[in-house]
Amino acid sequence: MRKTVILFLALTLSLALALPVLADTIKIGFNISLTGDIPKVGESSKFAAEMLKADINGAGGLMVGGKAYKLDFIYEDNESKAESAVTAMLKLIERDQVLAVVGPNSSKQAVPAGQIANDNKTVMVSPWATNPDATLDRPWVFRAAFLDPFQGPVAVNFAVKTFGAKTAAVIYDLSNDYSKGLAEIFKQVFEEKMGAGSVVAFESHGTRDQDFSAQLTTIINRKPDFIFVPNNYNQVALIVRQARQQGYTGEIMGSDAWGSAELMTLCGDVCKGLHFSTHYAAAGATGATKEFIDRYTATYGYTPDDVAALTWDATKVVLQAIQNAGRLTGRLRTDRQAILDGMKAITSFDGITGSMKFDEEGDPVKCAVVVQISQTGEFEFKESVCP
């Protein structure tokens, strides 16, 4: 009797130990904002990832070293908060034992969460973060988006050329790394180009603010040629509207955080005709990009925004790195190291948001586009700027 029990226990134990090795799945974590300030961003990421997972699992799985693995994506909500992004990252790395992490999207969460990924030696690829600090001095952290030091000059040059702007005003979110960083870069570049004092107003606000009338009164009083608004889409809807209510009729320009599918629902008519710099233009896309857009639209009922496209690319980069690793041992530390080496082995990647190659900081060198919001609410391609 006793022998049977011991035998049974030993059998269960060996089975339990053997299972993770036997189960041919690859776990990838997604640290995304499904609730909070920018829930649409997380939703887009999740939808794009689900689409990619269905593709690969449907085709039998991912081939790594001659063996097919099923993909298992784990979505962890970071509530659009910096501190929750850190918790989510730890949870994915330690409890869920993922091989690599995609996300967080916003720089506000990617900068702190990147530190965790780097400390725990897990590859992280942020699809959307543009703040330089996200990957700076972190060998394990990569991104799929261009950087703000590149995006800032794109906005400046476009405004000077298209609006003939000699002066500018900036309104930005002080508690958002992304918004603050980009606003400062913009100010520096614009003043270098147009002379000191050409940024006539540099006003800030908090994340939860709904009333911007005081800042806008100051801005409009200084009579800038245009207003630069490097903010999240939800604030953009309020800022643009209130600027118009205060009688401002001039140009307003934005950055890639405008490009959510939800911008036009919230902003409506007042945003039509405005420009912003972004990662890709959905209207008028061709090739693989168009195929992605058409399939996404058919499945989820709306045109994918830049986050969806970038998540698609970021996840594919991670899968490419896993394939580059050649073989998975089932030992977490070894595999994660192999994936890092696989990331470094990528010389050039052809994504749907353009081709990219990673520099030594883990940042891609890729092009930006400026789009105009058309009268039908589509983001129409205006011009493309490459480094």
Binding site: L34, T35, G36, P39, K40, E43, L174, E203, S204, H205, G206, R208, D209, Q210, D211, S213, A214, Q215, T217, T218, N221, N234, A237, L238, R241, R244, Q245, Q246, G247, E262, T265, L266, C267, G268
Partner: protein, 303 residues
């Protein structure tokens, strides 16, 4: 320079109107029950959502013109929001009160009710923001460099009207007299044949109804709705009510506009980072010199 000051004054009046409207609800309930109804900010949020659903229902489903929708929205939002307020009172506050629980427990219950409203909203309607449909054509008027819209003027006028109505109810009607009597002595009042629970319900109807109206106006002015929109503005309105002298209607009204004015002026002339720092320092200094607020009187009639 002058137009800059006038422009900021208009901004301050409009922003202060919201604080004032919400603070009135805090002060009414406190005046009658000495209960700080911390769920009030979230009742305001619920009001905005109710306005959203009523407005989209009439606009989209029935295709009624905008001004008719607005005319329907005002009473419907107020009635439905006051139902929410009364429900909270019935299921959360009254049982505790009847068991003779200490006020502290009721306040904690109120805090929890607020959180429940927020997260119930998040769970039911999702995290996506709602865009409030435009009900009236907004006109931008420009007089001597000062811009204002018809909506801004309407908000300010409404705040003053609500104040006058509430002031009239409390000081001139029998219900108001009963409310003041309760705040004097909760135990003697039923002996005089005044239905305590009924008067309390009326207090909640008034407070929540006007919070609903504030929610509707807020949604029209800042048409991006989210579940947490009521939390911060609610707390700030509560502080405004305390500075004005909680329990006094004039105090809540004045406190609301004072907080609005300080916030707008700080942002207009200093970096916005300093807004809450300076605003609350000023309020703290006021409370240090006058701990009961402007109109508050220690331990006598409240409301």
């Amino acid at each position: 320079m002058l137009e800059l000051i006038i422009q900021n004054a208009i901004n301050a009046l409009q922003w202060g109107s919201f604080y004032a409207l919400i603070a009135l609800g805090y002060t009414l309930v406190y005046g009658v029950l000495t209960l700080i109804n911390f769920a009030h900010g979230d009742v305001f949020m619920v009001g905005a959502y109710i306005a959203f659903f009523v407005a989209t229902f009439f606009l989209v489903s029935l295709g009624v013109p905008g001004w008719v929708v607005l005319a329907l929205c005002v009473p419907l939002t107020m009635i439905l929001t006051s139902l929410v307020g009364v429900t909270l009172e019935r299921i959360a506050y009254r049982p505790l009160r009847n068991k003779g629980a200490h006020r502290l427990y009721v306040v904690i219950t109120a805090l929890m009710c607020g959180l429940i409203l927020q997260h119930a909203n998040l769970a039911i309607f999702g995290a996506s923001r709602k865009a409030f449909p435009p009900l009236i054509q907004e006109h931008v008027y420009n007089v001597g460099g000062v811009s204002f819209t018809n909506l801004k003027v309407a908000v300010i006028v409404t705040a003053f009207l609500v104040f006058l109505i509430l002031h009239w109810i409390v000081t001139r009607t029998r219900v108001g007299m009963a409310m003041r009597a309760i705040s004097y002595d909760k135990f003697a009042v039923p002996l005089m044949g005044i239905p305590l629970d009924q008067i309390i319900v009326i207090t909640f109807v008034l407070g929540s109804g006007f919070a609903g109206l504030a929610g509707l106006l807020f949604a029209m002015s800042y048409p991006v709705l989210e579940p947490y929109m009521g939390a911060l503005i609610g707390w700030k309105a509560f502080i405004a009510a305390v500075v004005g002298g909680i329990g006094d209607i004039r105090g809540a009204f004045l406190g609301g506009f004072l907080l609005g004015a300080i916030e707008i002026l700080v942002v207009a002339f200093f970096p916005s980072t300093l807004r809450d720092l300076i605003a609350f320092t000023v309020l703290l200094v006021i409370l240090t010199f006058k701990p009961t607020g402007f109109f508050g009187v220690a331990k006598t009639t409240k409301i």
